[in-house]
C-alpha cells in the first residue's frame, strides 16, 4: 500500500463508499479508514433495505412516478418542517440519477419485499438487503484501486486555519497519521456511545438498545465539533422505535421489530396501560412507541395478546412468552399478576362490538369509557394461550451532526473548511431535523456521498 493518498474517507458504509468510488473514478488515490472489522464493515448500511427515489415514470423496480413535490411533502410531514428545504430538494432531485448509478456500480434491486407493498412506488429495495449493497460497493471500490483499512479507528483531525492538515488513526495497535489533500467524513452518528447518549437524553438512555452497528461512536463527530466545526441537529434527540426487549444491545436490526402492538394491550412494569395501542397502523406509530416506552419506569413495556391475534402480524426473531392463564403469563414476565388480571378485565369490559374488526385498516373497533382508550382493533383478551413480549426503546440514529452546504462541504465560523466534506448519517441532521422517512437515509448517503467524492477529488486534482 502506498503512503500517499489524495483522499482519506473516514467510515465504511454507503456514503463513504459512494464518495470513495466517485473520487476514484475521477482519478484520485483513495483510502477508506473503516473502524469496524471486515465482517461488520458498512455501518448501519448493513441493516438497511431500500432507497427512496424520485422518478418520472417507471424506473428500475419502481412503479408509476414519484415527484419532487410529493417526496418533499412526505418528508415535511415526518420532520414537521424541520428541514433545510434547499438541501432536501437537492437530495430528492438527485435521487433519480442515483438509481442507475447504483446499478452500474454493482447494486441489484428487486421488487418491493412482501409486506411492504405500500413502498413499491417510492422505495427501491436492494436484492439481499443493505449488506449486499455494501459488498457490491467494496468490490467496485477494489476494482478502482481504492485501498481499505479495517479496524482503523480515526482519533483526531488536525485543523489549521481553514484546512485539515492531518488525520490521526490507530491500526494494528499503532498510532498512525496521514496528510491527504482532501478528507471525507462519513462515519455516522454517535448512538453507539451510550455514555454520550445518556448525557444527551438522561440516564434512562442507558437502558436503550442500539438497533445498528456498535461502531458508530461519534469519535470523529465529537472531535470536529469540539474544534468548532459547524453543527446541525438537536444534540439531545435520537430516532428510536419500540423493539423486542430481548434484542441484543447492539446490531439487532430488522428482525427485532414487533408489529403486534395494534392487536394488544401494552402495560408497564406495574401492569398499567399508558397509551392508545390502536391509534394508527403500526408503521405510522412505531417511532412514537420508542418514546412512550422510554418514558415508562425502567424503560420497558409489555405487550399482551391472546391466541386469536397471534398470526395477525409478521413473525419476529424471538418466540413470544406463552402461558395458559394471565396469572402465569404475568409470573413468567415478571409482572404483578393481580394488577395484570385487573387491567385486562377493565380493558375487556370496555370492549364493545367487534364485528367490524379488520387487522390492516383503521376499523374503529374501540373501547368505551376507558382511559387511555384503544381506538381501533380493540378486542378482549380472553382466548388462551396468552402471549407476551417485552418492549424496549431501540435507537436507530442520532440527529446531531456536521452542517454542510450543497457541496457537502463543512464549515467553521461561517467559513468553508477548504478540504473537508461530510456525507451520510453524520450530516443527515441538516435534512432530517426530526422523525424519519423510510429509505431516506440511504438517499442522503448516496447523494451526498457522491457529491463529497466529486468535490474532494476536484480539490485534490
Amino acid at each position: 500500500m502506498t503512503e500517499t493518498y489524495d483522499i482519506v474517507v473516514i467510515g465504511g458504509g454507503n456514503a463513504a463508499l459512494c464518495a470513495a468510488i466517485t473520487a476514484a473514478e475521477a482519478g484520485a488515490r483513495v483510502l477508506i479508514l473503516e473502524t469496524a472489522p471486515k465482517p461488520y464493515r458498512g455501518g448501519n448500511s448493513r441493516h438497511t433495505r431500500n432507497f427512496r427515489c424520485m422518478h418520472h415514470g417507471p424506473l428500475g423496480p419502481l412503479v408509476e412516478s414519484y415527484t419532487e413535490d410529493e417526496y418533499l411533502a412526505d418528508l415535511m410531514k415526518v420532520t414537521g418542517g424541520k428541514t433545510d428545504e434547499r438541501l432536501a430538494r437537492l437530495a430528492i432531485r438527485s435521487s433519480e440519477e442515483c438509481l442507475p448509478w447504483m446499478e452500474e456500480h454493482g447494486v441489484r434491486f428487486q421488487p418491493s419485499l412482501s409486506g411492504t407493498l405500500s413502498l413499491a412506488r417510492t422505495n427501491a429495495f436492494f436484492r439481499g438487503g443493505g449488506k449486499s449493497l455494501v459488498n457490491a460497493y467494496y468490490r467496485t471500490a477494489e476494482g478502482l484501486s481504492v485501498d481499505v483499512l479495517y479496524e482503523a479507528a480515526v482519533t483526531h483531525l488536525e485543523l489549521e486555519g481553514d484546512r485539515v492538515t492531518r488525520v490521526d488513526y490507530t491500526h494494528e495497535g499503532a498510532a498512525k497519521s496521514l496528510s491527504p489533500k482532501s478528507v471525507v467524513v462519513a462515519s455516522g452518528g454517535f448512538q453507539a456511545d451510550t455514555d454520550w447518549l445518556a448525557r444527551a437524553w438522561g440516564p434512562a438512555a442507558k437502558n436503550f438498545l442500539i438497533r445498528g452497528t456498535p461502531y458508530n461512536r461519534g469519535v470523529v463527530l465529537a472531535d470536529l465539533l469540539d474544534q468548532g466545526i459547524a453543527q446541525v441537529g438537536d444534540p439531545t434527540q435520537c430516532h428510536a422505535v419500540a423493539i423486542d426487549g430481548r434484542a441484543p444491545k447492539f446490531d439487532g436490526g430488522i428482525v427485532t421489530r414487533l408489529d403486534c402492538v395494534p392487536f394488544s394491550i401494552v402495560v408497564n412494569k406495574d401492569a398499567q396501560r399508558f397509551y392508545d395501542e390502536g391509534e394508527d397502523v403500526w408503521p405510522k406509530r412505531y417511532a412514537i412507541w420508542g418514546r412512550l416506552v422510554a418514558a415508562q419506569p425502567d424503560q420497558v413495556g409489555y405487550v399482551i395478546i391472546d391466541a386469536k391475534s397471534l398470526n395477525l402480524f409478521m413473525p419476529s426473531v424471538f418466540p413470544p412468552i406463552k402461558a395458559d392463564t394471565l396469572a402465569d403469563l404475568a409470573d413468567k414476565m415478571g409482572l404483578p399478576a393481580d394488577a395484570l388480571e385487573q387491567t385486562v378485565a377493565e380493558f375487556n369490559g370496555a370492549c364493545g362490538d367487534q364485528s367490524a374488526f379488520h387487522p390492516t385498516e383503521l376499523d374503529g373497533v374501540a373501547t368505551s369509557g376507558l382511559t387511555p382508550p384503544k381506538t381501533n382493533w380493540a378486542r378482549p383478551i380472553t382466548e388462551p394461550p396468552f402471549y407476551g413480549y417485552s418492549l424496549r426503546t431501540g435507537v436507530t440514529f442520532t440527529y446531531l451532526g456536521l452542517k454542510v452546504d450543497e457541496n457537502a462541504q463543512c464549515s467553521i465560523d461561517d467559513c468553508l473548511v477548504s478540504n473537508l466534506w461530510a456525507a451520510g448519517e453524520t450530516m443527515a441532521g441538516s435534512i432530517l431535523g426530526q422523525g424519519y422517512l423510510a429509505g431516506f437515509g440511504m438517499t442522503i448517503g448516496t447523494v451526498f456521498g457522491r457529491i463529497a467524492g466529486k468535490e474532494a477529488a476536484a480539490h485534490a486534482n
Binding site: 449488506k131 421489530r257 419476529s316
Partner: protein, 355 residues
C-alpha cells in the same frame, strides 16, 4: 432424522422469516415465508429446495461473529445431507457412502476388479470390437441389474421424501415448472441473473452454474447415447461398433467432453469454495463422486480414442468398472441430489399453485 440439525435449521429459518431481505435470491425464501412455524417436513423441503448458491450467506447481516450466527446454506446442507442418508434404501448404504469419499473410491476399485474378472471369465469367442473383450450378453447381465437396482432404490427414497414433505399427486404443470427450473438452473442465477457466490466469497459468477449444467447435460447426452444404442441393437438389429457420425457416437462424444470439462471445473470450484457453507463432513464424498463421474466421461473418451489399439481391452474394463460403480452408487452419493432436488421443485410448484 437428526433432531439437532433440524433444530438448528428451524432456529435459523425463524430468524430469516423475521428479516426477509433475501426473498429475491431463490426459491427457498418464498417457500420459507409461506410458513410461520416449521415442521420437520417443511425444513426437509426447504433443505432440498436450497441449491447452496450462498447468496443469502454473504448478504446476511447476522452471520458470525454476530450472536445470531446465521449460516443458512450450511444449516440446510446439513439437513439435506442427513435427509438423503435417511431416505436411502437400504439406509446403511446411504450412511456408508454419502459423506465418505474413500468408500466411493473403494467401491469404484471394486467395480474395476469385478469387470476384470468378468472379462477373463466371460470373454466371448468371436465377438467384434468391445464384445471381443466382454460378450454383449455378459454386459447386459451385469449392467441391467446395476441399472434397475438404483432405479428401484431411488423410487423408494423419493417415496419416503414425498411422505415426509406432505406431497400431493403430481400433475403435468408441476413437472413443467420443475423441469424449466432445472433446465436453466434458475436457482443458481441469484434472482438478478448475475449467478451465485461460490469460489470467491461474495463475487457473483456463473462458473458453478455453467459447470453444473455441463455435467448435467453431459450426463444426459451420455445416457441418451446408451439408450439410442440399446434401441439400435435390439429394435433395428444394428449392433456396435458405430461410426463417428452415428447418433450414439455424436451424443456420447459431446456428452463425454461436457462431463469431463464440467466435473473438472466443479472440483476446481469446490476446492476454492468456503467449505463451512456446505455440509462440512460431506466434502470428501462430493469430491470423490464428482471425480468418479468425470472419470466415467474421461475413460469413455479415452476408450474411443484407443479403439483398435492394444490399450482397448484394459480401458474398456476400467471404463465399464467406473460406470458400474457410478450406477450402483447413484442412490447413495451426491448423484441422488438430482432426484431429490427435482422432487423438491415439483413440491414447490404445488405450493405456488396453492397460493
Amino acid at each position: 432424522m437428526q433432531i439437532d440439525l433440524l433444530q438448528e435449521a428451524r432456529r435459523q429459518a425463524e430468524i430469516c422469516n423475521a428479516c426477509r431481505y433475501c426473498e429475491g435470491y431463490c426459491s427457498v425464501f418464498p417457500a420459507l415465508q409461506a410458513e410461520r412455524a416449521f415442521s420437520d417436513g417443511d425444513l426437509t423441503q426447504l433443505a432440498n429446495l436450497c441449491h447452496n448458491c450462498r447468496g443469502c450467506y454473504y448478504a446476511c447481516q447476522y452471520t458470525a461473529p454476530h450472536e445470531f450466527e446465521l449460516n443458512l446454506p450450511q444449516a440446510l446442507a446439513e439437513v439435506r445431507q442427513d435427509s438423503w442418508e435417511e431416505f436411502a434404501f437400504p439406509r446403511a448404504a446411504g450412511k456408508a457412502f454419502q459423506k465418505n469419499g474413500l468408500a466411493i473410491v473403494l467401491a469404484t476399485v471394486l467395480g474395476f476388479a469385478l469387470l476384470f474378472w468378468a472379462a477373463r471369465a466371460l470373454a466371448a469367442a468371436g465377438g467384434e470390437g468391445f464384445y471381443a473383450v466382454l460378450s454383449h450378453n455378459a454386459m447386459v447381465a451385469i449392467f441391467l441389474p446395476a441399472f434397475l437396482f438404483p432405479l428401484f432404490s431411488i423410487a423408494i427414497g423419493l417415496r419416503r421424501y414425498w411422505q415426509t414433505v406432505g406431497g400431493t399427486p403430481v400433475r403435468l404443470s408441476h413437472l413443467r415448472g420443475a423441469i424449466a427450473s432445472v433446465a436453466n438452473m434458475r436457482n443458481l442465477k441469484g434472482g438478478h441473473g448475475d449467478g451465485c457466490n461460490f469460489e470467491d466469497e461474495d463475487r457473483f459468477t456463473h462458473a458453478r452454474r455453467y459447470a453444473h449444467q455441463a455435467i448435467m447435460y453431459g450426463f444426459l447426452l451420455c445416457f441418451a447415447s446408451t439408450s439410442v444404442a440399446t434401441l439400435m441393437h435390439y429394435l433395428l438389429d444394428m449392433p456396435a461398433p458405430y461410426g463417428l457420425f452415428s447418433a450414439p457416437k455424436i451424443l456420447g462424444l459431446s456428452g463425454g467432453v461436457l462431463l469431463v470439462l464440467g466435473c473438472g471445473k466443479m472440483v476446481w470450484l469446490k476446492l476454492r469454495s468456503d467449505k463451512s457453507l456446505g455440509a462440512t463432513n460431506a466434502f470428501s464424498g462430493e469430491i470423490a463422486f464428482t471425480g468418479l463421474l468425470g472419470f466415467v466421461g474421461l475413460s469413455g473418451l479415452l476408450l474411443y480414442a484407443a479403439g483398435g489399439t492394444g490399450w482397448m481391452p484394459g480401458l474398456l474394463v476400467i471404463h465399464l468398472g467406473a460406470v458400474l460403480a457410478f450406477f450402483l452408487l447413484t442412490p447413495f452419493t451426491k448423484m441422488a441430489h438430482g432426484f431429490y432436488r427435482m422432487a423438491a421443485l415439483v413440491r414447490d410448484a404445488q405450493r405456488r399453485e396453492r397460493v
